[in-house]
Amino acid sequence: MPVSPYPGFATLGRTLAILAALAAGALAALALALAVGSVAVDGTTIVRALAGDVSETTGAIVRELRLPRALAAFAVGGLLALAGALMQVLLRNPLADPYVLGVSGGAAVGALGAMLAGAAALVPAAASGGALLSTTLVFGLARAGADRAPWIATRLLLTGVVVAAGWGALIALMLTLAPDAQVKGMLFWLIGDLSGTTPAAPALIVLAVTLLGAFALARDLNVLSRGEDVAAALGVAVARTTLVLHALAALATAAAVTTAGSIGFVGLIVPHALRLAVGNDQRVLLPACVLAGGALLVLADTLARSIAAPVQLPVGVITALIGVPAFLALLARGRPS
């Protein structure tokens, strides 16, 4: 084990310490989510409820209502932060996230289309299809004629912004055409909402798979963050690696959007804030994003369902209300380059 050359240098030991601290924070957030609500539950009762050893009502509230919802929130937050972190490296632009690139927009068009068609059961599939279609579209358009345009990352970002604007117009069109009774459900979905009963397991599985896949490529990502030419010179198979990473980011976004609608700001702000705090080594940053993004969304969702109880706010409102000022503060505090 090398001695750290300076405080903050990313050794394996420091990485494990950071991740352990974030994991403890995430567990605390999950515990809070299980405790808070119309029925307050204390710590020992939570442990007993999880073990299946309390009165029927409290046990059901903790196990069947709060736990699945908290786990879904954790998975979605982790997926969005991971997707954002990957896209930021791929585009070498801290502004990239599933929203800016139109991936969430594509998912929203798919989901709203399914709702309009009266096929509620198809919403998850349509949302995933939309996310993957959008990624393929953006990636394909940006690659086309790439040998004449060296600034591939800029092209990708521009293509994403334009495609996102196109999805935005389609969303507005569908909202205009939708019958009044459906509009509220559609809006909740668009803003992002965890009050539905989507099971958490698929999102958690996708989270584990995408994190493992991305972590295996983490040092390649470190090199890629310095530019594709540098990465190619240092032995990264650039075309194959970027393709895999785009697929992982699209899969993560699709799973998140399918579970909770399109929640903004997590993918943008979590990687950015963590980069300022722990540095840009992807071997630290990617797992840290999953833990912190998950914890943030668990807290935001707990707030969303308790702050105006019995009214449940869409969690996307909370993430935006926290996200916008936090992001502006980070930008103002960040060191000038």
């Binding site: 300076y6 240098f9 490296v89 040092r219 090199v223 190619a232 032995g235 980069r275 840009n280 080594d281």
Partner: protein
């Protein structure tokens, strides 16, 4: 050592946007040699070193490292054999000086491996060799242009390739730093194990450091011993302006008449 040149190419042709820059170039760069590429703007110097580095496909011809044809080497194997210094580097994200130099160790580490104490020591030695000792924890984006150039050279030296391909290593450096940096780089070849091909704009530096040279211009590439290629007559024709020799020994150069 099997005696095969560190770098060889046969009948190499380069073209950019349908325009042929080089055709039929044969080259053998052996360990211990320092080659300098000179030529006017747009002659294809950058294209040549990027192609020799295997980063863009040649229009025709073959390239081999240590006798192994390039198509038989994967990206990682290439990165362990040759290092490439691009003309410019851009920092998109914050990174410390030490982290930036350690990137050179990437091709030597297995997928799940972390940099060892030996990797860190190697990067720190490389930083010290380019006058960047003690700056380990600095954000690389706060360095001056010259310091960043030396940092890029240090990362290349930390990579420890047998063949170094450098595109304008002396750019952004002041006069003293140019000599110090190029002394350090060329000492690697003089040590006997490594070979260098570098693009240089400054004819004084070319004359000072080249033992072999490639003159590119007008679709023609001439390669050979430096004293045959870097003559006043040949370079006058190459640059389209009469050049005359001035100075003596290591201070000699060619200046426009």
């Amino acid at each position: 050592m099997n005696g095969a040149p560190r770098l060889s190419c046969r009948r190499l042709a380069l073209s950019v946007a349908g325009r042929t820059l080089v055709a039929g170039l044969d080259l053998d760069v052996r360990a211990g040699e320092c080659w300098v590429v000179v030529g006017p703007n747009g002659a294809g110097k950058t294209t040549l070193v990027a192609t020799l580095a295997g980063l863009r496909p040649p229009a025709a011809g073959e390239i081999a490292y240590d006798g192994t044809p390039l198509p038989m080497l994967g990206p990682r194997a290439r990165a362990r054999s040759r290092g490439f210094l691009p003309q410019d580097s851009v920092d998109f994200f914050p990174a410390t000086v030490l982290e930036t130099a350690l990137v050179g160790r990437h091709p030597h580490l297995a997928r799940w491996q972390w940099e060892s104490a030996a990797d860190v020591a190697r990067a720190q030695d490389a930083l010290a060799a380019f006058g960047l000792a003690g700056l380990d924890a600095r954000d690389a984006r706060t360095l001056s242009g010259g310091e960043r150039r030396r940092l890029a050279l240090a990362a290349l030296v930390a990579q420890d390739p047998a063949l170094l391909l450098l595109d304008e290593p002396s750019s952004h450096l002041d006069l003293g730093a140019q000599i110090a940096a190029l002394d350090t780089v060329t000492a690697l070849a003089r040590g006997g194990a490594k070979a260098i091909v570098m693009v240089l704009h400054d004819l004084h530096l070319a004359l000072r450091y080249a033992d072999h040279a490639i003159a590119l211009g007008g679709g023609i590439a001439r390669a050979g011993a430096a004293h045959d290629i870097l003559t006043a007559a040949a370079l006058s024709e190459l640059f389209g302006h009469r050049l005359v020799a001035v100075g003596e020994g290591s201070a000699s150069t060619l200046v426009p008449a």
